[in-house]
């Protein structure tokens, strides 16, 4: 995922925030995917209004004890996984 991109849900995919993190539902099946992100990524991140770098900044500001490089790596890994499963796609804002 590039930093200056937004992440959008693929057609047929919905997401909601849960206590453990994010719960994705894909009506094309398999239906459910659980992503244990706690409150680091909210479901509204996928409405396309915030870029990946916005989210990195938000997490780094919230958890100053975490190295930003580590946050970036973790987030990219999580988003790549979601993209790999066909749940989201990346759209450049540039």
């Amino acid at each position: 995922m590039r930093s200056e991109s937004v992440c959008l849900l693929n057609e047929g995919v919905q997401v909601r925030s849960e206590r453990f993190g994010l719960l994705f539902y894909d009506y094309r099946g398999p239906r459910l995917y659980f992503l244990p992100t706690k409150d680091l990524i909210k479901d509204h991140f996928f409405n396309g209004k915030h870029t990946v770098s916005n989210l990195i900044e938000y997490i780094c500001a919230k958890h100053r004890e975490w190295p930003c490089l580590m946050v970036k790596k973790w987030l990219n890994h999580a988003l790549d996984m979601l993209e790999g499963k066909g749940l989201i796609y990346e759209q450049s804002v540039c």
Binding site: G21, L23, Y27, L32, D43
Partner: protein, 343 residues
């Protein structure tokens, strides 16, 4: 299925079984809700719209619509349209008798799944359960739906009568571009009266379990996790989802842990008078299901596959929760072993 996250408690159901009316134009002998006539107090259109708003606000992803026959409600297509506007997927179970080309056209939406019930691959076997002429009408519905490219499956309840025709039902469904989905027969409603006559024997259940493994494209709506072999594990749940992933709203707005436990003692609340969020979060009935442990199953080698099976079957056959599903594969296997020794 990630049980650890489900067991942390979801903030809303993933799907809600919504039985929208008791009215039905058929009188199937295995009907779990004893449907027939519309009952006084069924939710009005306005109340149904409120239910949809509530579920949408909680981000419920899917309605599993049943009844009765949903299309007996004149406002049913409008209710489905409103659900789709809110982004809720609707999986509609129907006997198909009221579906014509016009209705199929109205249903042609990407968020619609249809399940047309057939309990036999011939008029003789199907109509013995569902009533005279129902086979032909169901096939007509399948034709109308498939012409509109609506995703459709044939839903069959596993009984002594349907069991010998499963292969033929797979082929019949495929001829309409549909998959076969098999549901478990449960002893509630009229099914209670006809349980001993219709329920499969243990030998048949064991044979069915093997058949399922040979037919991975056949879906089961997680009805049979207690008898599914390991190879189907990735296809669905390995535990009862009642009060954890799903719940049921009756035509009167009553909220229950699942569609097969619509008994007074399991009534968790009533819509629209009570808040669904409050019921889901705080109902003692729902909490008791979330905490339900089938202790006597915990040492079983199959515990990770079924967690004790379906509490509804256990309840209806033994009148108590917390007991093992009487039709689990471990029991079936032990029956098979005895038969082998006898042979």
């Amino acid at each position: 299925m990630s049980n650890q996250y489900v067991e942390m408690g979801l903030m809303a159901p993933v799907n809600v079984t919504w039985e929208v009316t008791y009215a039905c134009n058929l009188s199937c002998i295995h009907c779990v809700s004893d449907s027939g006539r519309k009952k006084p107090g069924e939710l009005t259109t306005e109340q149904c719209l409120q239910v949809i708003d509530t579920m949408s606000a909680m981000k419920v992803f899917q309605f599993n619509i049943g009844g009765g026959e949903p299309f007996m409600r004149e406002d049913f297509p409008d209710l489905m349209d409103y659900s789709h506007e809110k982004g809720i997927v609707t999986c509609i179970s129907t006997n198909g008798t009221l579906i014509d080309d016009e209705v199929a056209g109205r249903l042609a939406h990407k968020l619609v799944y249809m399940q047309v019930s057939l309990d036999g691959a011939t008029p003789a076997s199907n109509d013995a359960i569902r009533g005279k002429g129902s086979f032909r009408k169901a096939l007509n519905a399948l034709e109308f739906l498939s012409k509109r490219d609506i995703e459709v499956s044939v839903n069959t309840v596993l009984t002594k009568l349907s069991f010998p025709e499963l292969d033929a039902l797979v082929d019949l469904a495929a001829s309409f571009g549909a998959k076969l989905r098999i549901s478990r027969f449960r002893p509630s409603g009229r099914g209670k009266k006809n349980w001993s006559q219709l329920n499969v024997s243990r030998e048949q259940m064991l044979s069915f379990s093997d058949w399922l493994s040979r037919h991975m494209v056949v879906s089961t709506g997680d009805s049979f996790f207690s008898v599914s072999h390991e190879d189907r594990r990735s296809l669905g749940l390995n535990m009862c989802g009642a009060s954890k992933l799903t719940c049921c709203v009756s035509p009167l707005g009553e909220v229950y842990p699942c569609a097969f436990l619509q008994e007074r003692e399991f009534l968790a609340g009533k819509l629209p008078e009570e808040s669904f969020a409050e019921i889901w979060e705080n109902s003692p009935i729902f909490h008791s299901f979330r905490d339900l442990e089938i202790k006597s199953c915990e040492s079983c080698v199959r515990f990770d596959f079924c967690h004790g099976g379906c509490p509804a079957i256990a309840y209806h056959t033994q009148r108590r929760l917390g007991l093992p599903d009487p039709e689990c594969l471990a029991n079936c296997v032990s029956v098979k072993s005895l038969a082998a020794v006898g042979a």
